[in-house]
Assembly symmetry: C2
Homo-oligomer: 230 residues x 2
DNA sequence: CGGTTCGTTGAGATCGGTCAACTCAAGTGG
DNA sequence: CCACTTGAGTTGACCGATCTCAACGAACCG
């Protein structure tokens, strides 16, 4: 029952962003060797929309640098975030011909794109490419199933699970640089920003994590965090 | 924080069930024409395990009659239900080589099975079969995404959404014969049986639905139900 | 007729949401 | 350089939805 003012009015489309933003190591899950992206990386400004819900799915995207979120605005104005994507991750792979979520850049972000039809016709001939696309869909499926498992848990468990998930991506180091805001996290976890914030301080007070700056989380006691993840 | 006694100890494997159970019309989502199942339908007794979480995924299944649920037991004993499948639905299609959920028959159920390896090698030659498998994975993905959207809502909205989902399957008539127990529904929606039960009576008192018997739900005011779905 | 399983209902506890104030950092412009 | 603004995040007080615990009712079966 989160009634919220339909959040950030995503508007400014694309900026003349200049690289920077420390390219994350390599995106684990979707490091497709085969799907080679043509064209120069396209830059998007913070909060710029990459595609909108309901638009025809013309392209397939891969994050080069920065971070992307997919989201959906519900009838009552609540926003649900479907997933976060970082460098190396593939996104925008749709089943039907329309995007079921919209996608926005979280920070200055560069993505490469391929025409969907191109990939599809190529996949018709190349069985390995087809299998790869299927595998990518399968990974997505697994991630969403993991998301479901998060959403049935308590606030502490959700936040703990979220942090572990993010840490696993950042070459599983014991810290996380969060590209997204508390609102993004809240909308991903089905909580409010207040609860997310309170949970962070709770975890910090129990020395499970440290929060030197709002966007940087250090994991001090991973096993405690895993235990919380239930 | 649902601490619950790890529910029904699924045990009795397979019965000599004899057809009956009014074969539902035709499963909408997964009515695969191409994947032709060989072998006689295999009968499973109520609560019999069809496969277990972590087992190698040897087969692909299709419900002939009855109903199936996939579930996962969490570390603390909570159970999450991933999906329900009725006649015509395909299930057990895994990405990796292991089942990530277990599957159980909800009622007396018959399923046909195909060896996974068989389908896979066939798909290597037959592009249309491959595409079909991909599409099935995609439908699964969409369903799970819908599940996520349910889980962030209030109890009323979840139950309303669940009923509409079930009604949409039963050739979208204005009633539903629920094959599953309140516990199954609760574990699907991330609620307790008490809350599910209370929500049903609440909806009944506001004449949105009628509940002539516990397992039969009649939809009296579909638009009100849709509105609740948020 | 007990026993068992399933579902319903009630009363109280609790977790997370709501509303509101406050802090902090980063601009922005005089 | 200093107000002033703005957006993000934190914290507190209160409230309500949902969970917990418990009793009860109904259907089924030996």
């Amino acid at each position: 029952m989160l009634t919220r003012t339909a959040t950030q009015t995503v508007s400014s489309n694309r900026s003349f962003s200049h690289a920077s933003k420390a390219v994350p190591p390599f995106g684990l899950q979707e490091c497709e060797g085969m799907i080679e992206m043509m064209g120069a990386p396209m830059p998007f400004a913070r909060n710029a929309e990459i595609y909108g819900e309901g638009e025809p799915a013309e392209y397939l995207y891969k994050v080069v640098s920065g971070a992307v979120r997919t989201s959906k605005i519900l009838a009552d104005g609540r926003r649900q975030i479907g997933a976060f994507y970082i460098a190396g991750d593939l996104f925008g792979l749709e089943i039907g011909d329309e995007h079921t979520f919209s996608a926005e850049a979280i920070s200055e972000t560069k993505v490469v794109m391929v025409k969907r039809t191109t990939v599809m016709t190529m996949a018709q001939r190349d069985g390995s490419l087809a299998r790869e696309l299927w595998a990518a869909t399968g990974r997505e499926l697994r991630n969403v199933q993991g998301h479901v498992l998060l959403l049935i848990k308590s606030a502490q468990e959700r936040v703990a699970g979220f942090l572990l998930e993010m840490a696993a991506r950042n070459r599983s180091a014991d810290f996380v640089e969060l590209p997204m805001s508390r609102q993004d996290i809240a909308d991903y976890l089905g909580l409010t920003i207040e609860t997310v914030s309170r949970t962070f301080t709770l975890l910090e007070n129990s020395t499970v994590i440290a929060v030197p700056t709002a966007r940087r989380i250090e994991i001090r006691n991973r096993s405690a965090l895993s235990r919380l993840n239930s």
